[in-house]
Amino acid sequence: MTAADDLEGLLRDLAPRVLAALVRRYGHFDLAEDAVQEALIAAAEQWPDRGLPGHPRGWLITVASRRLTDELRSEESRRHREEAVAAEPGPPAIAAPAGEPAGDRDDTLTLLFLCCHSELSRPSQLALTLRAVGGLTTAEIARAFLVPEATMAQRISRAKQRIAAAGASFAPPPAGEWAGRLAVVLHVLYLMFNEGYAATSGPDASRPELTTEAIRLTRAVHRSMPEDAEVAGLLALMLLTEARHPARTTPDGGLVPLAEQDRSLWRADLIEEGAGLTSGALTRGPLGPYQLQAAIAAVHAEARAADDTDWRQILALYDLLERVAPSPVVTLNRSVAVAMVNGPQAGLDVLATLEGDGPMAGHHRLAGLRAHFRELAGQREAAVADYQLAARRATSLPERRYLESRAARLAGDR
């Protein structure tokens, strides 16, 4: 870890706390967020030369406050000018609630609730969370999602306008809404992780790692509410999945399936932490989908070799998952465990339930698994055709390459 990484880490940790301090003092979430970004940039420029200030957080709050008050003053004079033309009220500011200031950790959580506001689309929630809570710049977020910076800037500013228009306040949700709002935050963090995990090490080395960011933010939520089993479960799921990262791709960017990964490359430190969190969460309950997915990942992680995998236990966990949070994706993944325990035909029978006109019917993963089960069942011709079908349906280049090579390997086997 270099000094630059240390500084970046410090700034990202401070970002949500500085923003919370500003919003609490002045309201105006959207303007405060811009001011904090400017203060972070100033710090990144000045601190390496002049040394760390005595109170980094105080420094950032002072600089950001100055920018914000300047901005508010110029807004005010602009409004005065405009009021002469049209007397139209601006968007309502995000009022700070009257009450005692909460701790820093709760501030991060409160900001997450705000950035994952239900008025926002998923892409907007992701972008705003990365900027306002994660402290990433718009350019970095744009690179992570492979879109132009202007597109991302627009998404973020629109998200802030929507939050202001919704009259959202900088306060934790009321008790009755807490669980539902937390579920949205966790889902956004889960999507952020998945987006990062799918990023294969392509030519763009400057692409920031969303997995790191998702884990960091989920850790922050876990610190705020260590007793919540689903938060712990999500963090565990991320760690156990990230542990496979070094083994999941070939040097040329090809994908290595779970069964063929070199397990000695899996990160033992992440597995240990993830497995510990999982068993802690499962004993605490109540049971939820993230804990169950983490438990499944932990069973995979425990197997020294693919052949040692305890598929019966994985199937039992999928049965539970399907009861707790049924979805076509869960059924699709469960079919693998069914095939491994009860044979490929049983797996094909499960897939058949998804083949109607549901959301999975045209999905390349359904065709890919059908191909895999048919291959296991010795139906080579049908398996080749299904691998080819899956390759045609894939919208991911590495996944298409993988499916094409499976088809070619099997077809050449005769």
Binding site: S121, R122, P123, S124, A127, F145, L146, V147, P148, A150, T151, M152, Q154, R155, I156, R158, N194, E195, Y197, A198, A199, T200, G202, R248, T249, L255, V256, P257, L258, Q261, R365, G368, L369, H372, A394, T395, S396, L397, P398, E399, R400, Y402
Partner: protein, 120 residues
């Protein structure tokens, strides 16, 4: 998820349209682009010069052969494209359906292949 919307026109029909109609089509597309920029879905796009200005290049046995005109001989030709980043395919189709060219000719909606992927 990113989609390319390929805009198809019949250049002969386009030329035969009255000038106000052509202007209306252009400004309708312009307004749509502005709207998509506003929603944060617009990634980029370009218009192409007339298909008659195209050169088609084929290399056979190491020898390049260049012919005038577009690759596919058809009445409708691709005259431009845009790339949008939206949540669902349905949304991409909805955008394509609002493109003025869709009423007169056709739009093709194609998902881009993502460089990202997850092992199976």
């Amino acid at each position: 998820m990113k989609y390319m919307l390929l805009i198809y026109q019949n250049p002969a029909t386009w030329r035969d349209l009255p000038e106000p109609d052509r202007q209306a089509i252009m400004s309708e597309a312009g307004a749509l682009m502005a709207e998509l920029t506003g929603t944060g879905e617009w990634v980029g796009g370009e218009a192409l010069a007339d298909p008659s200005t195209a050169s088609t290049v084929r290399v056979r046995d190491g020898v390049p052969a260049v012919t005038d005109g577009p690759f596919a001989e058809a009445k409708e030709q691709m005259v431009g494209y845009c790339i949008v980043d939206c949540e669902t395919r349905e949304r991409a189709v909805e955008i394509a359906a609002r493109w003025p060219d869709a009423r007169l000719w056709g739009m093709e909606v194609r998902p881009l292949l993502s460089p990202d992927g997850v092992e199976m």
